[in-house]
């Protein structure tokens, strides 16, 4: 599974943007069939999305398709057409409970079988966008193991559902974010954060991203390519942390090669969770072309 730090929304409106998905600094793109597509254009968008998945070289950039919600007339057609194209994941809006998660799992399983695709190929990222959905985060996260690999918080819709205004500081979303990320970690799946909507406020985006990383989120949606690098950079470890992580990873590999179970770095015992964390840090750095060990 690749990284999902920055996830760029790309409306399925025209081939212009779709052909450039690989070049926008995003770890993954969310090809959108939902909110950015007018009601009368849903069929065209779906077909365009299919052709993009079939023909565009995404060069390893993750391919997520946001389909229309389960309560819409487009939902079934979206899945029927998109699942056989094997995107990495479907992003499903407004999931509210375990039933919703199970329903999409069953539906996708059926389509995968029909299309001769191994069951479980296409993952689901469930969007929690209502008070009910957020409160049911734990059951959604655990409803379809192996299928639902992430839950995400939809800040705009949640604010609307609660009748509140969003602020730059995001205090109003703090509980929701914390709860979603805890539920995700509990289920050993990923948690993704809602987009930062002020395109002119780069510092605000940077601060918010660092904050949600601190909470435990694995990625954040972007609504403009210029946001992707800011998000990726926020995820990148600082050089001191990276140096330390590289030392730990090297020591662990060396120990494994020599068949030693327990290792020590700089005289300190290092156990498995520390090694795992260090590996995650190095993986994130590699994704950003950070300096090689020798350069540090």
């Amino acid at each position: 599974m690749g990284l999902f730090r920055s996830q760029l929304y790309v409306p399925c409106k025209g081939p212009g943007m779709l052909q450039n998905c690989a070049y926008m600094n995003a770890d993954a793109v969310i090809l959108d069939l939902e909110d950015s597509i007018a009601q009368g254009e849903k069929d065209a968008a779906r077909i365009l999305c299919k052709y993009a998945l079939q023909n565009v070289d995404f060069q390893g950039v993750g391919r997520i398709v946001r389909v229309n919600g389960q309560d819409t007339e487009f939902y079934a057609d979206d899945l029927e057409m998109i699942i056989p194209c094997c995107p990495d994941a479907i992003r499903l809006p407004k999931v509210e409970d375990a039933d919703g998660a199970r329903e999409v799992d069953e539906r996708i399983t059926a389509i995968e079988k029909k299309a001769g695709i191994p069951v479980g190929t296409v993952k689901v990222h469930a969007m929690l966008e209502t008070a009910k959905g957020v409160l049911n985060a734990r059951e959604v996260a655990n409803a379809a193991p192996g299928r639902v690999t992430a839950i995400s918080l939809g800040g705009q819709d949640l604010a609307a559902d609660m009748g509140i205004m969003r602020t730059l500081e995001g205090t109003e979303l703090l509980f929701g974010r914390s709860f979603v990320v805890l539920a995700a970690r509990d289920a050993r799946i990923m948690a993704f954060d809602t987009p930062f909507t002020d395109l002119d406020n780069t510092q605000g985006l940077r601060d918010e991203t660092k904050f949600v990383i601190q909470l435990g989120f694995s990625g954040k949606a972007a609504i403009h390519p210029s946001q992707c690098k800011v998000i990726n950079d926020a995820f990148a470890p600082d050089l001191k942390t990276l140096k330390k992580a590289i030392t730990v990873v090297h020591a662990a590999r060396e120990a494994a090669a020599r068949g030693i179970g327990v290792i020590s770095v700089n005289g300190k015992m290092v156990d498995k969770p520390v090694v795992e964390q260090a590996e995650a840090v190095v993986a994130r750095a590699n994704a950003d072309n950070m300096p090689e060990v020798e350069d540090l």
Binding site: N20, Y23, M24, S226
Partner: protein, 521 residues
């Protein structure tokens, strides 16, 4: 039509152009710059004005009559007022009304404000054009073969050279003068129609047989504190109600682009500049006025501020963003031959480190030296490019003239690192070709072509290739990139030209012909 011969790029060019004389074919970007090329400056005649004469007139007709303008002469204007210029239409309409014909128009460039020239081509008032840019109705008319003699496209440095060499002699120059005193001292840095630097017009003022300063802002003598063009070079002052539309002359500072494709190109270009090693203390820099080029300047500025890197000077067409870098202390000075926006005008007037230079000092390849030769880095745009790194900025996908040579070839040749930004395709037509439609800048002077998909590095510059690879930049082979794009778009049919009729020739900065432009069918 004269004989056509192949130049060093394999392009057929005429050996003689009607009204402009003989031309040598392009033989290489630096062939005339080895220290052994010389020329004899053509002698020109100038009438000494009567002493004590009042230089100011309010009558356009009187000014034209006094200038001695006759059929068959060459006249010039400057394009510093860009799309807001009112001088050329005002003067040309009067010239047409007076029945003067068969003129060669040799302005520094032609903009959207000059569409009326198309009518004068049809009427036989204008039968020859020498210009950096040609677009809109003029470009269409010339491409359709309506101009009696082939047009000449020159670069900004090439024009300065041609004027100094005497290859082009201007009989009467009508120069927009945003603030002017009654004896003809004038500047572009103040006044209701302020346009900033008058760098291109300085050439006309020095070398034309007769110079008319056209102003709507007459001030007491002597003009203070800045004089761009001095009274001794000015024969007459023509006072009119308005020389242009200030809103179109001085647009606000162009915002950085939001276009993701352009931003991607700009980011890669910035990374390449960083990898090249030139992004270091003392950097000298120029960028074009396009959205992607300006975005590179933005990335550069942020990086230099963050790392505390101080450059030496910015050159060119100066945008508000270059001025911003000057004001942040990132440059010691900017050398301004042409100002792009309103922010620049104030800076030129108030900041002694913002220096107005003429076109010869900017880019004349035959000058003692010129600013573009001292550039470390230039960032340029392209309409399309080819696998030999040749660049077209002149003709559109339909073969019609719709661009400007500008300082493109001058800066590419002068700068140590020339980076050309180009999208992979425009409206589903690939922008990387086997052979670019019109060569304006030869590939030997282009170090890298940056697209949204990656960076193509000219194999001539092995050092840059190694640096880009070491920096893990997405370096692409230009042939492969071309094929990848064509796999999506298909290969476009060649534009159907009438190759029996040359409608314009593209002059390289050294005076040789680099390409011909044919009549569209």
């Amino acid at each position: 039509m004269s004989k056509m011969i192949a130049n060093a790029l394999g392009r057929l060019v005429p050996t003689e152009v009607e009204g402009l004389g003989e031309f040598a074919p392009f033989t290489g970007a630096f062939d005339r710059l080895r220290g052994d090329y010389s020329y004899a400056r053509a002698a020109t005649r100038r009438t000494v004005p009567a002493c004590q004469r009042d230089k100011v007139t309010k009558s356009i007709r009187e000014a034209i009559e006094r200038s001695g303008l006759k059929d068959g002469m060459t006249i010039s204007f400057h394009h510093h007022m860009r799309n807001g210029d009112g001088v050329l239409p005002l003067v040309m309409r009067e010239i047409q009304a007076m029945g003067i014909k068969d003129l060669t128009l040799a302005p520094s460039s032609l903009t959207d404000a000059h569409d009326c020239v198309a009518d004068m081509i049809e009427a036989g008032v204008v039968t020859g054009i020498c210009s950096s840019g040609m677009r809109g109705r003029i470009g269409q008319a010339v491409s359709e073969g309506k101009l009696a003699r082939p047009a000449l496209i020159y670069s900004h440095g090439g024009r300065a050279r041609a004027i100094e060499e005497g290859r082009i002699h201007i009989d009467v120059a009508f120069l927009g003068a945003p603030t002017c005193d009654k004896y003809g001292n004038f500047t572009g840095s103040t006044g209701p129609s302020a346009c900033g630097s008058l760098g291109y017009a300085m050439m006309d003022a020095k070398y034309a047989s007769h110079v008319v300063a056209v102003t709507d802002n007459l001030v007491d003598y002597p003009l203070m504190p800045r004089i761009s063009i001095p009274e001794q070079q000015v024969d007459q002052v023509l006072l009119v109600d308005s020389i242009g539309d200030p809103r179109k002359i001085a647009s606000g500072t162009v915002r950085y682009t939001r276009d993701p494709v352009q931003l991607r190109q700009a980011w890669l270009a910035f990374e390449l500049i960083k990898a090249s090693g030139y992004l270091a203390p003392g950097l000298s820099y120029q960028a074009g006025a396009g959205g992607a080029s300006l975005a590179v300047t933005g990335f550069l500025k942020d990086y230099m501020l963050e790392k505390g890197i101080k450059g030496s000077f910015g050159v060119g067409g100066i945008s508000g963003h270059t001025v911003d870098m000057l004001e942040h202390g990132l440059f010691d000075a900017v050398l301004d031959v042409q100002s792009f926006d309103a922010a620049v005008t104030g800076s030129l007037h108030n900041n002694p480190r913002h220096i107005e230079i003429d076109a010869s000092g900017y880019a004349n390849p035959f000058a003692g030296s010129c600013a573009v030769n001292h550039l470390d880095v230039v960032v340029l745009a392209a309409l399309d490019v080819d696998v030999d790194f040749n660049v077209n900025v002149m003709t559109g996908l339909d073969g019609v003239l719709r661009g400007a040579s500008g300082g493109h070839s001058d800066t590419a040749a002068g700068a140590k690192l020339s980076v050309v930004l180009c999208p992979c395709q425009r409206t589903r037509v690939p922008a990387i070709r086997d052979h670019v439609q019109t060569v304006v800048t030869p590939g030997e002077t282009v170090d890298a072509i940056v697209t949204e998909r990656g960076i193509c590095i000219n194999p001539r510059n092995e050092e840059l290739l190694r640096a880009a690879q070491a920096a893990k930049l997405p370096v692409l082979d230009i042939h492969k990139l071309k094929n990848d794009i064509e796999a999506m778009t298909g290969k476009p049919e060649p534009v159907p030209f009438d190759e029996s009729k040359v409608v314009a020739v593209v002059e390289y900065r050294d005076g040789t012909l680099i390409d011909s432009i044919y009549k569209v069918k």
